[in-house]
């Protein structure tokens, strides 16, 4: 797989671990209370598992297996690809700060995620094509 996919997928596995750890803390604490402030972790749990793990794994895999270009760089601009990776992951960390940092941080996180999504849409769009093109 290309290096960028490996980074997306490795990041998604790290988010899986972080998201499951937060989820396990929340669940255990709901059953046997040992950490009254655990509820503050819920937004980060949701962001890490849903966006960090599931969505990011799909992005890394799509970048890897969608049909490649026949001319020029096989998967489009590398610079755009890496920019999307950076923006997306910074976006996840900021968006997960709900309850810990002021709301402008989460807003910034969502904006970064949307920019990353836009870049990825630009990269993926021409690779979604019929056979022989």
């Amino acid at each position: 797989m290309p290096r960028l996919s490996a980074w997306f997928i490795r990041a998604s596995l790290i988010y899986l671990l972080m998201g499951f750890t937060l989820g396990a803390l929340l669940l255990a604490n709901n059953g046997v209370e040992f950490m009254p402030s655990a509820w503050a972790l819920l937004p980060a749990h949701v962001e890490f598992t849903l966006v960090g793990w599931i969505v990011q794994l799909a992005l890394g895999t799509a970048y890897w297996i969608l049909p490649r270009h026949t001319n020029g760089p096989a998967r489009g601009s590398l610079a755009l690809g890496w920019a999307s990776f950076g923006l997306f992951n910074l976006g996840i960390l900021l968006a997960a700060s709900s309850g810990l940092l002021p709301g402008t941080f989460q807003l910034a996180g969502r904006i970064l995620q949307m920019l990353a999504a836009g870049l990825l849409a630009v990269l993926f769009w021409p690779r979604v094509k019929a056979y022989g093109l």
């Binding site: 797989m1 671990l17 499951f20 396990a24 929340l26 669940l27 059953g31 046997v32 599931i54």
Partner: protein
């Protein structure tokens, strides 16, 4: 496809249907047609979809399709795969019973069922990541 992958994907399909069944119960209660205390099934509804269905489907396909670990050992450890399969599904099922029992009885042992479920799910995630990490290879 390897036996573990077949099990993961088929079990994921079962969770997909079960999740939607829980969804029907929850919606039925909201509509006033079902008079059972089913609200405590809401977290299982979400997690049957997110963990039982989507994550389990991903895990099965990753185990099958990701780059080979080595020629001799393409899927790394079958043992870790079984640990993932068993702990993930046991964890989800314990949660399905633990949460409603804890909500309705407030019994300490029901709380411990939830804690056990949390540990099992965490083991599942960790075992999957350990087995997969070395198969994420640049070429």
């Amino acid at each position: 496809m390897p036996i573990l992958t077949r099990l993961w994907i088929k079990t994921a399909l079962v969770y997909f249907v079960l999740a939607l069944l829980l969804g029907i119960l929850l919606a039925g209660q909201c509509a006033g047609l079902i008079h059972l205390p089913v609200q405590s099934l809401f977290p299982s509804y979400i997690h049957f979809l997110a963990v039982g269905w989507i994550s389990q489907l991903i895990i099965g396909v990753v185990f099958w399709m990701f780059p080979k670990y080595t020629q001799a050992n393409p899927r790394r450890s079958e043992g870790l795969g079984w640990v993932t399969y068993i702990t993930l599904n046991l964890g989800l099922l314990l949660r399905l019973v633990g949460e409603p029992l804890h909500a309705t009885t407030n019994a300490a042992w029901a709380g411990w069922l939830m804690a056990a479920s949390a540990l099992l799910l965490l083991i599942a995630g960790t075992a999957f990541v350990i087995n997969t990490w070395g198969r994420v290879k640049e070429k």
